[in-house]
């Protein structure tokens, strides 16, 4: 390797003389890179200074963090009664994720059709739907949870509604994109054999978007399981309530146990849903 390297390096001046265009540095591109990188680093330093990052504090924190990590071992729920409590809360978390995802999926169907350019030709309606969806999407799930707690009270129901609210927009957007990119030919075929507008949608478009949509639902369910684990932090049910409580009262072993529970559950759900999605999207049937 190194012998080759040396011979090649020895040839470099000759090569540079023969192919000057290749070896000439591209100053403009370099300047661009330096400007972009320099800007990013400058902003980084500015942020560090503005947010008052103190090396002593960071060091102290890291030391305390290692202590905490030590105190987390071994993770334990401290007795069966509490483990049962956690298990119920975990079930509740899954229920919240499932319910929120399906509610969002159901409600997003009409919205998706409204936001699709090839279904609704009215440009104003189309624009308004899109903007409304964007504004709903820009609010985080936890904020929605707080709002819904004011409406239906503390508990998992508020959590499910919060997940629904924050997902509706994303679902509708995906759905409208799937509809817009759907193949026109089946629709025209149904029309040519005398199908009505509704029949064109049912037999021309729905079969095309159904597998895409189903796999998206599963994907969202995966990510919502993660969101549902934290929604309890603000009191909207699920395992997050216990997690934040155990951390606040510095019961590190229990907190670690809860985190492990979440990790394992999420890993299982990811695996199952990945299989299902692969089965749905790919693999010609039969």
């Amino acid at each position: 390797m190194s012998a080759l390297r040396e011979t090649l390096l020895a040839q470099k001046p000759g090569m540079a003389a023969r192919y000057p265009d290749v070896f000439r540095p591209n100053l403009r591109a370099r300047l661009n890179v330096v400007l972009v990188l320099g800007g990013a680093v400058a902003l980084y330093v500015y942020a560090l200074v503005t947010l008052d990052f103190d090396p002593h504090r960071i060091l102290g924190g890291v030391l305390r963090l290692t202590d905490i990590a030590e105190m987390m071992l071994p993770p334990t729920p401290d007795g069966w009664a509490r483990a049962e409590l956690y298990g119920v809360a975990l079930g509740q978390t899954l229920a919240i994720a499932l319910l929120g995802t399906s509610l969002a999926a159901i409600l997003a169907v009409p919205l998706g059709f409204l936001a699709a350019r090839n279904i609704v030709a009215n440009r104003v309606l189309h624009f308004l739907t899109r903007r409304a969806l964007d504004s709903v999407r820009s609010i985080d799930t936890l904020i929605w949870a707080l709002i819904w707690i004011n409406v239906v009270g503390l508990g998992p129901f508020a959590g499910a509604l919060a997940i629904m609210s924050s997902d509706i927009a994303a679902f509708a957007k995906l759905m409208s994109e799937a509809i817009e990119t759907a193949d026109r030919k089946p629709v025209e075929g149904v029309q040519a054999s005398g199908g009505s507008r509704l029949e064109r949608i049912r037999f021309g478009i729905v079969p095309q978007i159904l597998p895409i949509f189903a796999s998206q639902i599963l994907y969202f369910f995966e990510s919502n399981t993660r969101s549902a684990t934290i929604i309890g932090i603000v009191g909207a049910g699920g395992i997050g309530l216990y997690l934040s409580e155990e951390i606040r009262v510095l019961e590190w072993q229990r907190a670690a146990f809860l985190i492990v529970m979440v990790l394992v559950t999420v890993a299982i759900i990811d695996q199952v849903s990945q299989r299902l999605r692969a089965a749905m999207m790919g693999a010609p049937r039969g």
Binding site: L65, V151, V152, I230, L263
Partner: protein, 295 residues
């Protein structure tokens, strides 16, 4: 052009039709079974999540009236009649919003660097050692499976209140999320340039610098920007657990029922998030166009 359709005699058609009907029925049964399973899961979920339609129906009025209350000042007038009163704390909120954005930036940038370094170590086509890949992969998995707000909860205890724990939480979560995406990009590159550099005597770093990076950089940047959007949204709630940003102000306003403050802050957050989404979308589209132009 004339098409003719020949219909086979009935005796020949009957078994075909029967087979078709059977296949259709089998598919129907499968669909029904799937739907029944989903319905069962949903029913269980409704039980588990204490869903009560009647409560929902009763309280649904609260939802609209909540937004109605959000639009009222303490004096009882609508907020838009007196914007100076509505946005009385504009300066403070803008400062906190700026802090939120800086937190998201710091966290995303640090996470970008972390994911960047680690993604090469867990790519099958660049690292031969299965053990190294396994360790890096599991690390990234843990980083992205634990939600950032849980990290924030823990870090608030270790580092104290303020933006520092928030930034660290975002950074760790982003490392996990980006590291995985990056490694997927790296695993799908064209290996010929890499072999070319290896053949002319380049070491591992040179191979990455001159053969891998040019292929992946625009994709990396685009994913990084996308993550920044997500993180801005996430940073607005980190204040709920005391990890800095505008979330602290927001949760206080919501919990203490300062309705006009809630609507003012929410509106600020929404405008800011949407503006950043729009900007980053523009940049991402230009990056993609750049990619298309080169290929």
């Amino acid at each position: 052009m004339i098409h003719t359709i020949t219909i086979p005699p009935d005796a020949q058609m009957a078994p075909l039709m029967r087979a078709y009907a059977d296949a259709l029925a089998a598919r129907r049964r499968q669909t029904m079974l799937g739907l029944a399973l989903v319905a069962l899961a949903l029913a269980l979920a409704c039980l588990g999540a204490d869903v009560d339609i009647f409560v929902f129906w009763d309280k649904l009025g609260n939802f609209t009236s909540y937004f109605y209350r959000l639009s009222k000042l303490d004096t009882g007038a609508f907020v838009w009649t007196d914007p100076t009163e509505w946005y009385w704390g504009l300066q403070r909120w803008l400062r906190q919003l700026g802090e939120t954005l800086l937190m998201a930036y710091l966290g995303t940038a640090s996470g970008f660097v972390g994911g960047f370094v680690l993604c090469f170590l867990c790519s099958r086509n660049l690292v031969r050692s299965g053990a190294v890949r396994w360790v890096v992969r599991r690390y990234l998995e843990i980083c992205r499976t634990v939600p950032d707000i849980v990290f924030a909860l823990i870090f608030v205890v270790a580092f104290g209140l303020g933006p520092l724990p928030g930034v660290l939480a975002i950074a760790i979560h982003t490392t996990g999320a980006l590291g995985k995406l990056f490694s997927e990009v790296v695993e799908s590159i064209d290996m010929k340039p890499v072999e070319g550099i290896a053949a002319s005597g380049g070491n591992w770093f040179e191979r990455i610098r001159f053969a891998v990076l040019p292929q992946v950089l625009s994709n990396f940047t685009s994913y990084g920007l996308l993550r920044f959007e997500v993180n801005v949204r996430g940073a607005t709630v980190l204040g709920f657990v005391g990890a800095g940003g505008i979330g602290e102000e927001l949760i206080t306003a919501i919990r203490k029922f300062y309705y006009s403050d809630v609507s003012a802050i929410l509106l600020l957050v929404m405008v800011c998030v949407m503006a950043i989404d729009l900007l980053s979308e523009r940049v991402r589209h230009r990056l993609l166009a750049l990619e298309g132009g080169r290929a």
